[in-house]
């Protein structure tokens, strides 16, 4: 209880939440994704395993926790949970979501499969990141569901556009553009959601 009260006090003293947060979050996430492309070669599910999941999780998690350190306590936990979660999905049948593309070319299949796959991954990653958020925001259990929605929209869009571009150009590069679209959507939507959650937490803490 004492620990929890201490964290709440810390929250109040941390930086004011606002529009800047969204920009920092968005640019941090996208910058990390582009940086990750130097280390990870995008491919189909079997091409990327645990190792690449750990690398991807580390790069994205590090950038996001760097942005969050001004807003939540113990933000390094965010990075760790991202590393572990992405590493585990990399070794599972889900694959290193964010850097993998589906094998099929049918556009409708890609949209539906992307949305479902994104939702499943979002829940998983959300639960992991909940460990980092739970003492910092109220009703932190909302985060896995929000993340599921964000990744569902992002991956559905990304895999669909990626498929269309790959068909049009005849190059796998189209998939890379598709994944960039997915990350743009995820970074934007999660930025909006986190902004809201952290604002609510601050208001509650202020009351």
């Amino acid at each position: 209880m004492a620990e929890r009260a201490k964290v709440t006090i810390m929250k109040i003293s941390l930086k004011q939440i606002g529009g800047n947060f969204w920009w920092h979050w968005f640019l941090g996430t996208m910058g990390a994704f582009f940086l990750s492309l130097l280390l990870i070669e995008v491919g189909e599910k079997p091409d990327l395993g645990v190792g690449y999941g750990l690398i991807g999780g580390a790069v994205i998690g590090l950038a996001q926790s760097w942005v969050l350190k001004e807003y939540i306590a113990h933000s390094w936990r965010w990075m760790w949970m991202s590393v572990i979660a992405w590493g585990l999905v990399g070794g599972s049948s889900v694959g290193v979501v964010g850097w993998i593309t589906p094998a099929g070319e049918a556009i409708v299949f890609r949209a539906i499969y992307g949305a479902l796959h994104g939702a499943a991954f979002g829940i998983w990653m959300g639960v992991a990141q909940w460990f980092a958020l739970r003492h910092n925001i109220n009703r932190a259990w909302r985060w896995p569901w929000i993340l599921a929605l964000c990744w569902s929209v992002g991956l559905g869009l990304g895999w669909t556009f990626g498929g269309v571009l790959r068909l049009l150009t005849g190059m796998f590069l189209g998939e890379l553009v598709g994944l960039t679209i997915a990350w743009l959507a995820v970074a934007s939507l999660t930025g909006i959601a986190l902004n809201r959650l952290l604002s609510d937490a601050k208001k509650t803490a202020g009351n």
């Binding site: 091409d47 690398i55 390094w76 150009t169």
Partner: protein, 425 residues
């Protein structure tokens, strides 16, 4: 304000995380950055099968990015390739620091390469890393006598440029050659003329041109520990050309004052020009061998009929006279039938009885992606006909985002193609 009095586990989270991340990044880095340099044996020669790839500067970043060479050669070696043909002469520039080029063109090496490599020597790096990884390195003089109209070389030496009879009429392009310059993209002519480089051809009969090309080749052979040198289909002259004043005068001197025929396809006129190129080829062979008898002379032409009729390149004579020691026939076809027809041509069969003959296979260009199944099928056709191997055009389209398939999937296919047969099977 930052929270005070961090607990020990906060530090564990932080520094433990950073430590493990650094270990992972290091493990990645060893695959990106150079291996420690150590004394390694000389490369194994392409004993049984040529497994090569052309490394070019056009539509490819491999020569320019700091980790490009290491990454490329590591992957090629891991997949049992044994030869690389890195470009050293393209668009009027060298891809190594060249005193010869400096003197003639005013530029030591290609400006973008010089900038990206901080004036370093990419050819030296390719040879060092390639040999360490048991790859033969055979520098490729890709452009031969061709150069962009606006290149420093062409601007400094207009007297070296060969001309058609009607100067308004440009020589027809090589339709068999894979295009990396967007020339298959339909765009209006007035835009194309401004965007796309117009090519000219150096006069292969001009002694100063011959000396320049020979000096470039010999500079590479003298200065670098190369396994050979390669020239290709650009080592010739479009049949429409040869009407410049120097060549006309030379022809007249040797024909009792008679002018060359108006018809560029006149049999004797074609023969006369091709003989001059043959003589220069012989000179290259003897000059290279005088410096390094072990240096292989490799040639990568189009089919013989096309080479001779369009580019006056009489490569079968070169093979018969022993001036070429390895031949890689460019067979950039999509359909299996025409691919097979090229392999069945008489000149190729004759060459195959005298020297190792491999087949150049197209793995794709920017405007023409090629599926890996087609590559697989063509390699099999080459093997079925007992040729001495294959070389792929070009590195960036072996496995990359510019291919139709995922890079990892393509690597798997090449791995299977070049894996040693399992014992007992």
């Amino acid at each position: 304000m930052k929270p005070k009095g961090k607990k020990w586990w906060d530090y564990l989270w932080l520094w433990g995380g950073l430590g493990i991340s650094l270990v992972w990044l290091w493990m990645q880095a060893v695959t990106i950055f150079p291996d420690p340099i150590g004394a390694m044996p000389r490369p194994i020669p392409a004993a049984s099968e040529i497994r090569g790839v052309w490394i070019t500067n056009v539509a490819s970043g491999v020569l320019f990015s700091p980790w490009g060479i290491n990454r490329a050669l590591r992957q090629l070696s891991a997949l049992n390739f044994n030869t690389v043909y890195p470009v050293v002469w393209n668009r009027g520039h060298t891809f190594y620091p060249s005193k010869v080029a400096q003197k003639v063109t005013g530029r030591e090496q290609e400006p973008m390469l010089k900038f990206m490599r901080w004036g370093g020597d990419v050819l030296e790096e390719i040879i060092k890393v390639g040999h360490r990884r048991n790859l033969r390195v055979i520098p490729w003089f890709e452009y031969g006598f061709m150069a962009p109209k606006n290149s420093p070389l062409a601007r400094r030496h207009p007297e070296w440029i060969s001309q058609p009879l009607n100067r308004e009429k440009k020589p027809a392009g090589n339709k068999l050659e894979p295009e990396l310059n967007f020339s298959q993209v339909k765009i209006p002519d007035f835009i194309r003329d401004r965007l796309i480089r117009q090519q000219v051809w150096l006069n292969p009969f001009h002694p100063e041109v011959q000396q320049f090309i020979l000096d470039l080749i010999l500079e590479v052979v003298r200065r670098y520990d190369v396994d050979g040198i390669q020239i290709d289909d650009h080592f010739g002259l479009p049949v429409e050309l040869g009407y410049d004043s120097f060549t006309v005068e030379l022809y007249r001197r040797e024909h009792g004052g008679k002018n060359p025929p108006y018809d560029p396809r006149d049999e004797e006129w074609m023969f006369w020009r091709s003989q001059k190129i043959n003589a220069f080829m012989q000179k290259i062979f003897t000059s290279v061998k005088a410096i390094n008898p072990e240096c292989l002379i490799s040639l990568s032409p189009n089919s013989y009929e096309f080479s001779y009729n369009k580019y006056l390149q009489d490569w079968l004579t070169w093979v018969n006279r022993g001036w070429v020691e390895e031949l890689l026939l460019q067979v950039y076809r999509d359909d299996a039938k025409s691919f097979e027809a090229e392999l069945a041509q008489t000149a190729v069969q004759i060459a195959a009885q005298k020297i190792p003959v491999g087949v150049g296979i197209l793995t794709g260009t920017l405007t023409h992606p090629v599926r890996v199944e087609q590559v697989q099928e063509q390699v099999q056709l080459v093997r079925d006909r007992q040729f001495n191997g294959v070389s792929f055009f070009y590195w960036e389209t072996l496995w990359s985002y510019l291919t139709p398939d995922a890079p990892g999937q393509r690597r798997q296919v090449f791995k299977q193609l070049f894996s040693p047969p399992k014992s007992g099977t």
